[in-house]
Symmetry: C2
DNA sequence: TATTATACATTCAACAATGTATGTAAATGG
DNA sequence: CCATTTACATACATTGTTGAATGTATAATA
Protein backbone atom coordinates (compact mmCIF):
# COMPACT_ATOMS: atom_id res chain seq x y z
CA UNK A 1 0.00 0.00 0.00
CA UNK A 2 0.92 3.58 -0.45
CA UNK A 3 3.03 5.20 2.19
CA UNK A 4 1.27 7.82 4.29
CA UNK A 5 2.38 11.20 5.54
CA UNK A 6 3.78 11.38 9.05
CA UNK A 7 0.64 13.25 9.94
CA UNK A 8 -1.60 10.61 8.45
CA UNK A 9 0.33 7.89 10.21
CA UNK A 10 -0.18 9.60 13.52
CA UNK A 11 -3.87 9.87 12.80
CA UNK A 12 -4.14 6.13 12.17
CA UNK A 13 -2.17 5.57 15.39
CA UNK A 14 -4.80 7.45 17.32
CA UNK A 15 -7.62 5.89 15.34
CA UNK A 16 -6.31 2.47 16.33
CA UNK A 17 -6.12 3.45 20.00
CA UNK A 18 -9.61 4.92 19.88
CA UNK A 19 -11.02 1.81 18.27
CA UNK A 20 -9.22 -0.39 20.79
CA UNK A 21 -10.56 1.66 23.69
CA UNK A 22 -14.14 1.38 22.52
CA UNK A 23 -13.87 -2.34 21.82
CA UNK A 24 -12.15 -3.17 25.10
CA UNK A 25 -14.89 -1.39 27.02
CA UNK A 26 -17.68 -2.93 24.98
CA UNK A 27 -16.60 -6.55 24.71
CA UNK A 28 -13.50 -6.87 26.86
CA UNK A 29 -9.85 -7.35 26.07
CA UNK A 30 -9.88 -11.13 25.74
CA UNK A 31 -12.71 -11.13 23.22
CA UNK A 32 -11.22 -8.31 21.18
CA UNK A 33 -8.89 -9.48 18.47
CA UNK A 34 -6.27 -7.35 16.80
CA UNK A 35 -8.28 -7.72 13.63
CA UNK A 36 -11.33 -6.27 15.38
CA UNK A 37 -9.31 -3.24 16.34
CA UNK A 38 -7.88 -2.80 12.87
CA UNK A 39 -11.16 -3.06 10.98
CA UNK A 40 -12.93 -0.84 13.50
CA UNK A 41 -10.33 1.78 12.67
CA UNK A 42 -10.64 1.16 8.94
CA UNK A 43 -7.27 -0.58 8.75
CA UNK A 44 -5.88 -4.08 8.61
CA UNK A 45 -3.87 -6.02 11.14
CA UNK A 46 -0.74 -4.88 9.37
CA UNK A 47 -1.29 -1.37 10.69
CA UNK A 48 -1.67 -2.63 14.24
CA UNK A 49 1.54 -4.64 14.07
CA UNK A 50 3.31 -1.67 12.58
CA UNK A 51 2.40 0.63 15.46
CA UNK A 52 2.39 -1.89 18.33
CA UNK A 53 4.13 -5.10 19.23
CA UNK A 54 1.02 -6.88 20.49
CA UNK A 55 -2.24 -6.40 22.34
CA UNK A 56 -0.61 -5.55 25.66
CA UNK A 57 1.41 -2.84 23.95
CA UNK A 58 -1.84 -1.35 22.70
CA UNK A 59 -3.18 -1.22 26.23
CA UNK A 60 -0.03 0.35 27.55
CA UNK A 61 -0.03 2.91 24.75
CA UNK A 62 -3.58 3.93 25.39
CA UNK A 63 -2.87 4.32 29.09
CA UNK A 64 0.14 6.49 28.32
CA UNK A 65 -1.79 8.63 25.90
CA UNK A 66 -4.87 9.16 28.04
CA UNK A 67 -3.63 8.98 31.61
CA UNK A 68 0.12 9.40 31.51
CA UNK A 69 0.44 13.15 31.81
CA UNK A 70 -2.29 13.48 34.41
CA UNK A 71 -0.73 10.73 36.45
CA UNK A 72 2.60 12.50 36.44
CA UNK A 73 0.98 15.82 37.27
CA UNK A 74 -0.81 14.50 40.36
CA UNK A 75 2.33 12.77 41.40
CA UNK A 76 4.22 16.02 41.34
CA UNK A 77 1.45 17.95 43.02
CA UNK A 78 1.34 15.60 45.99
CA UNK A 79 5.09 15.76 46.34
CA UNK A 80 5.06 19.57 46.43
CA UNK A 81 2.27 20.57 48.75
CA UNK A 82 1.86 24.29 49.27
CA UNK A 83 3.74 25.02 52.53
CA UNK A 84 1.29 27.80 53.32
CA UNK A 85 -1.71 25.55 53.63
CA UNK A 86 -0.75 21.91 53.02
CA UNK A 87 -3.97 20.43 54.34
CA UNK A 88 -6.23 22.41 52.05
CA UNK A 89 -3.87 21.76 49.18
CA UNK A 90 -3.92 18.04 49.92
CA UNK A 91 -7.70 17.93 50.08
CA UNK A 92 -7.98 19.84 46.86
CA UNK A 93 -5.43 17.65 45.10
CA UNK A 94 -7.31 14.50 46.04
CA UNK A 95 -10.61 15.97 44.95
CA UNK A 96 -9.18 17.15 41.67
CA UNK A 97 -8.01 13.64 40.87
CA UNK A 98 -11.59 12.48 41.02
CA UNK A 99 -12.94 15.54 39.26
CA UNK A 100 -10.51 15.06 36.41
CA UNK A 101 -11.56 11.47 35.97
CA UNK A 102 -15.26 12.24 35.90
CA UNK A 103 -14.87 15.19 33.56
CA UNK A 104 -12.37 13.82 31.05
CA UNK A 105 -13.93 10.91 29.19
CA UNK A 106 -10.72 9.64 27.62
CA UNK A 107 -9.03 9.52 31.00
CA UNK A 108 -12.00 7.70 32.47
CA UNK A 109 -11.97 5.20 29.64
CA UNK A 110 -8.30 4.42 30.11
CA UNK A 111 -8.76 3.86 33.83
CA UNK A 112 -11.91 1.90 33.18
CA UNK A 113 -9.98 -0.52 31.01
CA UNK A 114 -7.17 -0.90 33.49
CA UNK A 115 -9.56 -1.42 36.39
CA UNK A 116 -12.21 -3.61 34.80
CA UNK A 117 -10.62 -5.40 31.87
CA UNK A 118 -6.96 -6.11 32.61
CA UNK A 119 -6.32 -9.34 34.48
CA UNK A 120 -3.88 -9.16 37.38
CA UNK A 121 -2.23 -12.50 37.99
CA UNK A 122 0.62 -14.01 39.94
CA UNK A 123 2.72 -14.53 36.85
CA UNK A 124 2.95 -10.88 35.96
CA UNK A 125 3.13 -9.74 32.39
CA UNK A 126 5.16 -6.75 31.34
CA UNK A 127 1.97 -4.74 31.19
CA UNK A 128 1.03 -5.69 34.73
CA UNK A 129 4.42 -4.65 36.03
CA UNK A 130 4.13 -1.36 34.21
CA UNK A 131 0.72 -0.58 35.69
CA UNK A 132 1.78 -1.74 39.13
CA UNK A 133 4.74 0.63 39.06
CA UNK A 134 2.47 3.50 38.08
CA UNK A 135 0.20 2.83 41.03
CA UNK A 136 3.06 2.50 43.44
CA UNK A 137 4.33 5.89 42.29
CA UNK A 138 1.01 7.38 43.27
CA UNK A 139 1.07 5.51 46.52
CA UNK A 140 4.51 6.76 47.42
CA UNK A 141 3.52 10.32 46.62
CA UNK A 142 0.45 9.99 48.83
CA UNK A 143 2.46 8.55 51.67
CA UNK A 144 5.02 11.32 51.45
CA UNK A 145 2.31 13.95 51.39
CA UNK A 146 0.74 12.47 54.51
CA UNK A 147 4.13 12.30 56.18
CA UNK A 148 4.57 16.01 55.53
CA UNK A 149 1.16 16.65 57.03
CA UNK A 150 2.02 14.58 60.06
CA UNK A 151 5.20 16.53 60.67
CA UNK A 152 3.10 19.66 60.51
CA UNK A 153 0.94 18.15 63.29
CA UNK A 154 -2.00 18.30 60.91
CA UNK A 155 -3.04 14.68 61.32
CA UNK A 156 -5.77 13.91 63.76
CA UNK A 157 -5.26 10.17 64.03
CA UNK A 158 -2.68 7.96 65.64
CA UNK A 159 -2.38 5.76 62.58
CA UNK A 160 0.83 5.95 60.61
CA UNK A 161 1.02 7.93 57.37
CA UNK A 162 1.84 4.71 55.55
CA UNK A 163 -1.35 3.08 56.77
CA UNK A 164 -3.42 6.18 56.11
CA UNK A 165 -2.03 6.30 52.60
CA UNK A 166 -3.16 2.72 52.14
CA UNK A 167 -6.63 3.55 53.34
CA UNK A 168 -6.79 6.63 51.18
CA UNK A 169 -5.64 4.72 48.10
CA UNK A 170 -8.18 1.99 48.73
CA UNK A 171 -10.99 4.48 49.16
CA UNK A 172 -10.02 6.37 46.03
CA UNK A 173 -9.68 3.15 44.10
CA UNK A 174 -13.07 1.94 45.26
CA UNK A 175 -14.82 5.20 44.44
CA UNK A 176 -13.34 5.44 40.97
CA UNK A 177 -13.84 1.75 40.29
CA UNK A 178 -17.48 1.99 41.25
CA UNK A 179 -18.05 5.14 39.26
CA UNK A 180 -16.58 3.68 36.10
CA UNK A 181 -18.50 0.44 36.38
CA UNK A 182 -20.14 -0.68 33.14
CA UNK A 183 -23.87 -0.29 32.80
CA UNK A 184 -25.76 2.23 34.82
CA UNK A 185 -23.33 4.23 36.91
CA UNK A 186 -24.61 3.49 40.37
CA UNK A 187 -22.45 6.16 41.98
CA UNK A 188 -22.44 9.69 40.59
CA UNK A 189 -19.00 10.90 41.54
CA UNK A 190 -19.45 14.19 39.76
CA UNK A 191 -22.15 15.19 42.22
CA UNK A 192 -21.04 13.35 45.35
CA UNK A 193 -17.31 12.95 44.96
CA UNK A 194 -16.32 15.94 47.06
CA UNK A 195 -18.72 15.05 49.86
CA UNK A 196 -17.60 11.45 50.02
CA UNK A 197 -13.94 12.44 49.98
CA UNK A 198 -14.45 15.04 52.68
CA UNK A 199 -16.23 12.43 54.77
CA UNK A 200 -13.07 10.36 54.78
CA UNK A 201 -10.58 13.17 55.01
CA UNK A 202 -12.41 14.77 57.92
CA UNK A 203 -11.36 11.73 59.90
CA UNK A 204 -7.72 12.43 59.08
CA UNK A 205 -7.38 16.07 59.97
CA UNK A 206 -7.87 18.08 63.10
CA UNK B 1 -14.00 -44.83 30.95
CA UNK B 2 -15.30 -46.58 34.00
CA UNK B 3 -18.13 -44.95 35.84
CA UNK B 4 -17.23 -43.50 39.24
CA UNK B 5 -19.06 -43.55 42.54
CA UNK B 6 -21.14 -40.51 43.39
CA UNK B 7 -18.56 -39.78 46.04
CA UNK B 8 -15.70 -40.04 43.59
CA UNK B 9 -17.53 -37.85 41.12
CA UNK B 10 -17.96 -35.16 43.74
CA UNK B 11 -14.30 -35.37 44.55
CA UNK B 12 -13.34 -34.79 40.94
CA UNK B 13 -15.80 -31.89 40.88
CA UNK B 14 -13.94 -30.26 43.72
CA UNK B 15 -10.58 -31.21 42.29
CA UNK B 16 -11.52 -29.41 39.09
CA UNK B 17 -12.61 -26.30 40.96
CA UNK B 18 -9.44 -26.34 43.04
CA UNK B 19 -7.28 -26.68 39.96
CA UNK B 20 -9.19 -23.92 38.21
CA UNK B 21 -8.79 -21.62 41.20
CA UNK B 22 -5.04 -22.07 41.34
CA UNK B 23 -4.61 -21.64 37.60
CA UNK B 24 -6.82 -18.57 37.36
CA UNK B 25 -4.83 -16.88 40.10
CA UNK B 26 -1.48 -17.92 38.68
CA UNK B 27 -1.91 -17.23 34.99
CA UNK B 28 -5.30 -15.60 34.63
CA UNK B 29 -8.60 -16.72 33.20
CA UNK B 30 -7.94 -15.87 29.59
CA UNK B 31 -4.70 -17.82 29.46
CA UNK B 32 -6.13 -20.83 31.26
CA UNK B 33 -7.66 -23.38 28.95
CA UNK B 34 -10.18 -25.99 29.96
CA UNK B 35 -7.52 -28.53 29.17
CA UNK B 36 -5.16 -26.86 31.61
CA UNK B 37 -7.77 -27.21 34.33
CA UNK B 38 -8.49 -30.82 33.51
CA UNK B 39 -4.90 -32.01 33.41
CA UNK B 40 -4.03 -30.06 36.56
CA UNK B 41 -6.76 -32.06 38.26
CA UNK B 42 -5.59 -35.31 36.72
CA UNK B 43 -8.55 -35.49 34.33
CA UNK B 44 -9.33 -34.72 30.72
CA UNK B 45 -11.50 -32.07 29.18
CA UNK B 46 -14.35 -34.55 29.14
CA UNK B 47 -14.61 -34.28 32.89
CA UNK B 48 -14.79 -30.51 32.75
CA UNK B 49 -17.54 -30.55 30.15
CA UNK B 50 -19.41 -33.11 32.18
CA UNK B 51 -19.49 -30.97 35.32
CA UNK B 52 -19.66 -27.51 33.74
CA UNK B 53 -21.05 -25.93 30.59
CA UNK B 54 -18.04 -23.75 29.91
CA UNK B 55 -15.34 -21.66 31.54
CA UNK B 56 -17.73 -19.06 32.89
CA UNK B 57 -19.73 -21.80 34.57
CA UNK B 58 -16.56 -22.94 36.31
CA UNK B 59 -16.00 -19.45 37.67
CA UNK B 60 -19.56 -19.16 38.85
CA UNK B 61 -19.39 -22.57 40.50
CA UNK B 62 -16.23 -21.75 42.37
CA UNK B 63 -17.74 -18.52 43.59
CA UNK B 64 -20.83 -20.33 44.79
CA UNK B 65 -18.78 -22.97 46.55
CA UNK B 66 -16.32 -20.67 48.27
CA UNK B 67 -18.21 -17.44 48.81
CA UNK B 68 -21.89 -18.23 48.41
CA UNK B 69 -22.84 -19.12 51.96
CA UNK B 70 -20.77 -16.38 53.55
CA UNK B 71 -22.27 -13.85 51.20
CA UNK B 72 -25.76 -14.90 52.18
CA UNK B 73 -24.86 -14.87 55.84
CA UNK B 74 -23.56 -11.31 55.84
CA UNK B 75 -26.54 -10.27 53.83
CA UNK B 76 -28.86 -11.60 56.49
CA UNK B 77 -26.82 -10.20 59.32
CA UNK B 78 -26.94 -6.66 57.94
CA UNK B 79 -30.67 -6.95 57.40
CA UNK B 80 -31.24 -8.00 61.02
CA UNK B 81 -29.16 -5.71 63.17
CA UNK B 82 -29.43 -6.28 66.88
CA UNK B 83 -32.03 -3.72 68.07
CA UNK B 84 -30.26 -3.44 71.42
CA UNK B 85 -27.08 -2.04 69.99
CA UNK B 86 -27.32 -1.67 66.22
CA UNK B 87 -24.26 0.51 65.83
CA UNK B 88 -21.90 -1.89 67.52
CA UNK B 89 -23.51 -4.75 65.66
CA UNK B 90 -23.04 -2.92 62.37
CA UNK B 91 -19.41 -2.15 63.09
CA UNK B 92 -18.76 -5.72 64.05
CA UNK B 93 -20.54 -7.10 61.01
CA UNK B 94 -18.45 -4.97 58.68
CA UNK B 95 -15.25 -5.94 60.44
CA UNK B 96 -16.13 -9.61 60.36
CA UNK B 97 -16.59 -9.48 56.60
CA UNK B 98 -12.96 -8.44 56.27
CA UNK B 99 -11.76 -10.81 58.95
CA UNK B 100 -13.45 -13.72 57.23
CA UNK B 101 -11.82 -12.89 53.95
CA UNK B 102 -8.34 -12.62 55.41
CA UNK B 103 -8.68 -15.78 57.48
CA UNK B 104 -10.37 -18.11 55.00
CA UNK B 105 -8.04 -18.74 52.07
CA UNK B 106 -10.65 -20.30 49.79
CA UNK B 107 -12.95 -17.35 50.26
CA UNK B 108 -10.12 -14.97 49.56
CA UNK B 109 -9.19 -16.88 46.43
CA UNK B 110 -12.72 -16.76 45.07
CA UNK B 111 -12.94 -13.01 45.65
CA UNK B 112 -9.46 -12.55 44.28
CA UNK B 113 -10.52 -14.15 41.02
CA UNK B 114 -13.69 -12.13 40.74
CA UNK B 115 -11.89 -8.89 41.54
CA UNK B 116 -8.68 -9.31 39.58
CA UNK B 117 -9.33 -11.75 36.78
CA UNK B 118 -12.92 -11.39 35.56
CA UNK B 119 -13.43 -8.74 32.91
CA UNK B 120 -16.41 -6.44 33.36
CA UNK B 121 -17.62 -5.10 30.05
CA UNK B 122 -20.58 -3.23 28.57
CA UNK B 123 -21.89 -6.30 26.82
CA UNK B 124 -22.47 -8.27 29.97
CA UNK B 125 -22.10 -12.00 30.03
CA UNK B 126 -24.30 -14.21 32.16
CA UNK B 127 -21.47 -14.47 34.67
CA UNK B 128 -21.15 -10.72 34.92
CA UNK B 129 -24.85 -10.31 35.53
CA UNK B 130 -24.69 -12.97 38.22
CA UNK B 131 -21.81 -11.31 40.04
CA UNK B 132 -23.35 -7.89 39.67
CA UNK B 133 -26.56 -9.12 41.27
CA UNK B 134 -24.61 -10.56 44.17
CA UNK B 135 -22.92 -7.27 44.82
CA UNK B 136 -26.12 -5.31 44.56
CA UNK B 137 -27.63 -7.63 47.18
CA UNK B 138 -24.84 -6.66 49.53
CA UNK B 139 -25.28 -3.03 48.63
CA UNK B 140 -28.99 -3.11 49.36
CA UNK B 141 -28.39 -4.79 52.69
CA UNK B 142 -25.82 -2.16 53.61
CA UNK B 143 -28.13 0.66 52.62
CA UNK B 144 -30.99 -0.78 54.65
CA UNK B 145 -28.75 -1.22 57.66
CA UNK B 146 -27.64 2.39 57.43
CA UNK B 147 -31.24 3.50 57.04
CA UNK B 148 -32.08 1.70 60.25
CA UNK B 149 -29.19 3.44 61.96
CA UNK B 150 -30.33 6.79 60.66
CA UNK B 151 -33.84 6.29 62.01
CA UNK B 152 -32.23 5.53 65.33
CA UNK B 153 -30.47 8.91 65.10
CA UNK B 154 -27.18 7.08 65.23
CA UNK B 155 -25.70 8.70 62.14
CA UNK B 156 -23.42 11.65 62.62
CA UNK B 157 -23.42 12.94 59.08
CA UNK B 158 -25.92 14.78 56.91
CA UNK B 159 -25.25 12.52 53.96
CA UNK B 160 -27.98 10.11 52.93
CA UNK B 161 -27.81 6.42 53.89
CA UNK B 162 -27.75 5.56 50.20
CA UNK B 163 -24.66 7.68 49.65
CA UNK B 164 -23.00 6.44 52.80
CA UNK B 165 -23.64 2.90 51.68
CA UNK B 166 -21.92 3.71 48.41
CA UNK B 167 -18.93 5.11 50.22
CA UNK B 168 -18.79 2.16 52.57
CA UNK B 169 -18.99 -0.32 49.70
CA UNK B 170 -16.25 1.49 47.83
CA UNK B 171 -13.99 1.56 50.85
CA UNK B 172 -14.57 -2.11 51.57
CA UNK B 173 -14.04 -2.98 47.95
CA UNK B 174 -10.81 -1.02 47.82
CA UNK B 175 -9.45 -2.53 51.01
CA UNK B 176 -10.21 -6.08 49.99
CA UNK B 177 -9.03 -5.54 46.44
CA UNK B 178 -5.74 -4.14 47.68
CA UNK B 179 -5.25 -6.89 50.22
CA UNK B 180 -5.81 -9.64 47.67
CA UNK B 181 -3.52 -8.09 45.10
CA UNK B 182 -1.11 -10.55 43.48
CA UNK B 183 2.49 -10.45 44.54
CA UNK B 184 3.58 -9.00 47.83
CA UNK B 185 0.48 -8.05 49.77
CA UNK B 186 1.09 -4.36 50.27
CA UNK B 187 -1.70 -3.98 52.79
CA UNK B 188 -1.97 -6.35 55.75
CA UNK B 189 -5.67 -6.35 56.43
CA UNK B 190 -5.36 -8.96 59.14
CA UNK B 191 -3.41 -6.53 61.29
CA UNK B 192 -4.83 -3.21 60.19
CA UNK B 193 -8.30 -4.02 58.95
CA UNK B 194 -10.13 -3.09 62.13
CA UNK B 195 -8.25 0.17 62.57
CA UNK B 196 -8.84 1.25 58.98
CA UNK B 197 -12.51 0.35 59.16
CA UNK B 198 -12.97 2.20 62.44
CA UNK B 199 -11.27 5.20 60.91
CA UNK B 200 -14.01 5.36 58.33
CA UNK B 201 -16.90 4.36 60.53
CA UNK B 202 -15.96 6.89 63.18
CA UNK B 203 -16.92 9.51 60.66
CA UNK B 204 -20.39 7.98 60.34
CA UNK B 205 -21.43 7.67 63.94
CA UNK B 206 -21.90 10.09 66.78
C1' DT C 1 -29.79 -59.69 37.31
C1' DA C 2 -30.91 -56.99 33.47
C1' DT C 3 -31.25 -52.37 32.37
C1' DT C 4 -30.23 -47.79 32.41
C1' DA C 5 -28.00 -43.76 33.63
C1' DT C 6 -23.56 -41.98 34.91
C1' DA C 7 -18.88 -40.23 34.73
C1' DC C 8 -15.92 -39.61 32.34
C1' DA C 9 -12.04 -40.42 27.99
C1' DT C 10 -11.24 -40.00 23.22
C1' DT C 11 -11.67 -38.19 18.82
C1' DC C 12 -12.89 -34.91 15.32
C1' DA C 13 -14.28 -30.90 12.84
C1' DA C 14 -13.98 -26.19 12.58
C1' DC C 15 -12.11 -21.98 12.96
C1' DA C 16 -10.10 -18.37 15.05
C1' DA C 17 -6.03 -15.81 16.35
C1' DT C 18 -1.37 -14.85 16.34
C1' DG C 19 3.16 -13.75 14.51
C1' DT C 20 5.84 -13.28 10.65
C1' DA C 21 7.24 -12.79 6.04
C1' DT C 22 6.72 -10.49 2.01
C1' DG C 23 4.93 -7.01 -1.25
C1' DT C 24 4.47 -2.16 -2.52
C1' DA C 25 3.81 2.54 -3.55
C1' DA C 26 4.53 6.76 -2.00
C1' DA C 27 6.96 10.06 1.09
C1' DT C 28 11.22 11.67 2.56
C1' DG C 29 16.13 13.05 2.53
C1' DG C 30 20.13 14.19 0.27
C1' DC D 1 15.85 12.87 -8.93
C1' DC D 2 17.49 8.85 -6.97
C1' DA D 3 17.87 5.84 -2.96
C1' DT D 4 15.91 4.61 0.94
C1' DT D 5 12.75 4.28 4.37
C1' DT D 6 8.06 4.33 5.77
C1' DA D 7 3.37 2.86 6.48
C1' DC D 8 0.91 -0.05 5.80
C1' DA D 9 -1.78 -4.47 3.08
C1' DT D 10 -1.65 -9.17 1.95
C1' DA D 11 -0.60 -13.86 2.41
C1' DC D 12 0.82 -17.78 4.97
C1' DA D 13 2.03 -21.09 8.38
C1' DT D 14 1.28 -22.59 12.76
C1' DT D 15 -0.92 -23.38 16.68
C1' DG D 16 -4.45 -23.41 20.09
C1' DT D 17 -9.05 -23.95 21.64
C1' DT D 18 -13.62 -24.90 21.63
C1' DG D 19 -17.86 -27.67 21.29
C1' DA D 20 -19.86 -31.67 20.10
C1' DA D 21 -20.02 -36.42 18.98
C1' DT D 22 -19.03 -40.82 20.23
C1' DG D 23 -17.29 -44.63 23.00
C1' DT D 24 -17.35 -47.32 27.27
C1' DA D 25 -17.07 -49.55 31.56
C1' DT D 26 -19.18 -49.44 35.70
C1' DA D 27 -22.46 -47.92 39.45
C1' DA D 28 -27.01 -47.51 40.57
C1' DT D 29 -31.66 -49.17 40.36
C1' DA D 30 -35.68 -51.89 40.15
Amino acid sequence: MARKTKDEAERTYHALLNAATALFIKQGIAKTTLNDIATAAGMTRGAVYWHFDNKDAVIRALWDRNAGTLHARFNQELLNLDPENPEQHFRQAIKSIVQNIVSEPELGEAIHIVMHCVEFTDEQTELQRYLRDKRSELHNALEKALTVLQKRKALHTSLSPALLAQGMICYLYGLIHNHLEPGKAVLDLRKNGDALLDLFMDSLFV
